[in-house]
Amino acid sequence: MTPIIEIKHITKEFRVLNRREGLRGSLQDLFSRNYKIVRAVDDISMEIGQGEIVGYLGPNGAGKSTTIKMMTGVLEPTSGEILVAGSVPYRSRTKNAGQIGVVFGQRSQLWWALPLIESFRLLKDIYCIPDAAYQEMLDFYRSLMDIEPLLHKPVRQMSLGQRTLSDILAAFLHDPKIVFLDEPTIGLDVAMKARIRTLIHALNREKHTTVILTTHDMGDVDALCRRIVIIDKGRMLYDNDITHLRGFFGAYRTLKVRMDGDLAAQAAVIRKELPDCSVTADEEWISVLVNEEQARVLDVLALLQKTHDIRDMQLQEISTEEVIKKIYEEGVQ
């Protein structure tokens, strides 16, 4: 299968003015322009297949938006090649725009004053969607959710959740090959997040649309993405299956035990008993990080029970969130 998006060694550099401080500095800036080059994206390569949902992750300022802007044709890479559905996005921006859909969680792209159905009709004209395809898509939407309450409401009067739903529906309306979703669930309540995830999942499955999802919400990633790409400081840190990612750190589980007496002192004792595990104590719990490749959690628990009077215990899986956090902090070794 040929990939729908091919990225080969792209780099994007920006020229940023070195601003000097104070009024004097501002005046100097007016006359001498002292630029420095900032590399926002540094040698990134990837291939994305038709129908994939890819989680594109990274801390703030990692270069995610810049990469997305290059894929959508808004920015031209400084070097390297991008092909989206066989053409170079920056050079054929209009053509590219017809094949993609874009949703920004916080910025609606719909006509503010118009009811959703009118926005849909305008989009139908703009994207030259044939009548039959348009009807079919609306019917498909109806089968997924109750869209009637949305259709006749001006976007301006919608709640944030309704607006995001509408924006997503609008982005998929012309049956694009790729949809870019930038933080689609930001600021939404739990129920609405779940609805939006279900919707994205269904659209991807039925229409086989490639979805590039940037988010800081690991719930989105767990619910939707099989593959994730992590970048930081413009460099690619990770590009693989999400299960593989868990495998990196997933051999670890945290055993938490509660007991009477001074926890810090007891933690010190346990540390001696279990030299292979890292042991920490807070006010309530003693946490033992167990590497399951070396010792089974149940064995550790049995060992502890022999020498300590355990009141309560908890077992924690390491979450995607923690894994990602670890990667942001330490990188992948």
């Binding site: 920006f14 938006s65 054929s92 209009t94 725009a97 920004f104 006509w111 004053a113 004209d125 703009i126």
Partner: protein
């Protein structure tokens, strides 16, 4: 880039316009108040004009009715910029906040898409008022109504509109480079008030400025000479339609150049 036909754009514009009007009418109070406000603005403008010129029989060799003609001419020619290109006023804030990026993802012309979003209905009152003034002055001056004179008026009105639109586009597009472009836009818009007077009443320095630097003399003066004083039309008047088209095209390219350079704020 893929080019779509003019018909395609006209149809889309018609759709957006119809929807926009519909939604504006749904705020009845707002609609009525802004229409009344618009009416008063025009009446006030006219009264100050009337007081000023009513007290003198002529200024710099220009009769009251001729100046009235220029006044009406400038009102009509300013209508397109007010009605169709009003979104230029919002350009600065949408560029500054990063919202402008949303216009970059549609498979249609960016400039068209951006400008189509707002239709300022208030300009229509001005249009009616301008046409009224123009017809009144026309009648008082006793200009013959022939196919040629009407056709000339229409062509030169379009010319004047193009120049005003071009000035505003260029001024608005400065926001792609500088932060405080509001002042540039405001400056240009204020200057258009001078457009309704014959440039010959200004000093030579301003005459030069208004012709070659900030070409507002083309908004009413040079074009209307063709109708008002057909015997002494300078070459600049005949050339003004060409200027209008060239200016408009250049301002469009400048606007698009800025927009393409725009990379949005981080998100």
């Amino acid at each position: 880039m893929e080019h779509r036909s003019l018909r395609f754009y006209l149809r889309i514009y018609g759709r957006i316009l119809a929807q926009d009007l519909k939604s504006k009418m749904s705020y009845r109070a707002d609609f009525i108040i802004s229409t009344i406000g618009m009416l008063f603005t025009n009446i006030a403008g006219f009264i100050s004009f009337w007081i000023l010129f009513g007290s003198f029989p002529s200024i710099g060799g220009w009769r009251y009715e001729e100046i009235l003609f220029l006044y009406g001419f400038s009102l009509v020619s300013l209508t397109p910029v007010q009605c169709l290109f009003d979104n230029n006023w919002n350009l600065r804030s949408s560029v500054y906040s990063g919202d402008f990026i949303k216009y970059c993802f549609r498979p249609i012309n960016l400039f068209f898409y951006y400008q189509s979003e707002v239709f300022d209905i208030k300009g229509l009152g001005q249009l009616a008022f301008g046409i009224g003034t123009l017809c009144y002055a026309w009648g008082k001056l006793g200009i013959a109504v022939t196919v040629l004179s009407v056709l000339r008026t229409i062509i030169f009105l379009c010319t004047a509109s193009l120049i005003m639109v071009a000035l505003q586009n260029a001024a608005a597009a400065t926001c792609f480079w500088i932060q405080n472009s509001f002042y540039v836009l405001d400056f240009v818009t204020r200057f258009k008030d001078y457009a309704r007077y014959p440039v010959t009443i200004f000093s030579p320095v301003f005459r030069f400025l208004f012709t070659f630097v900030m070409p507002i003399a083309f908004i009413a003066y040079y074009p209307s000479l063709v109708i008002l004083r057909p015997d002494e039309v300078p070459l600049l008047s005949w050339l003004s339609p060409l200027f209008g088209i060239v200016f408009f095209y250049l301002s469009y390219r400048f606007w698009m150049f800025g927009a393409m350079r725009y990379s949005g704020t981080g998100s």
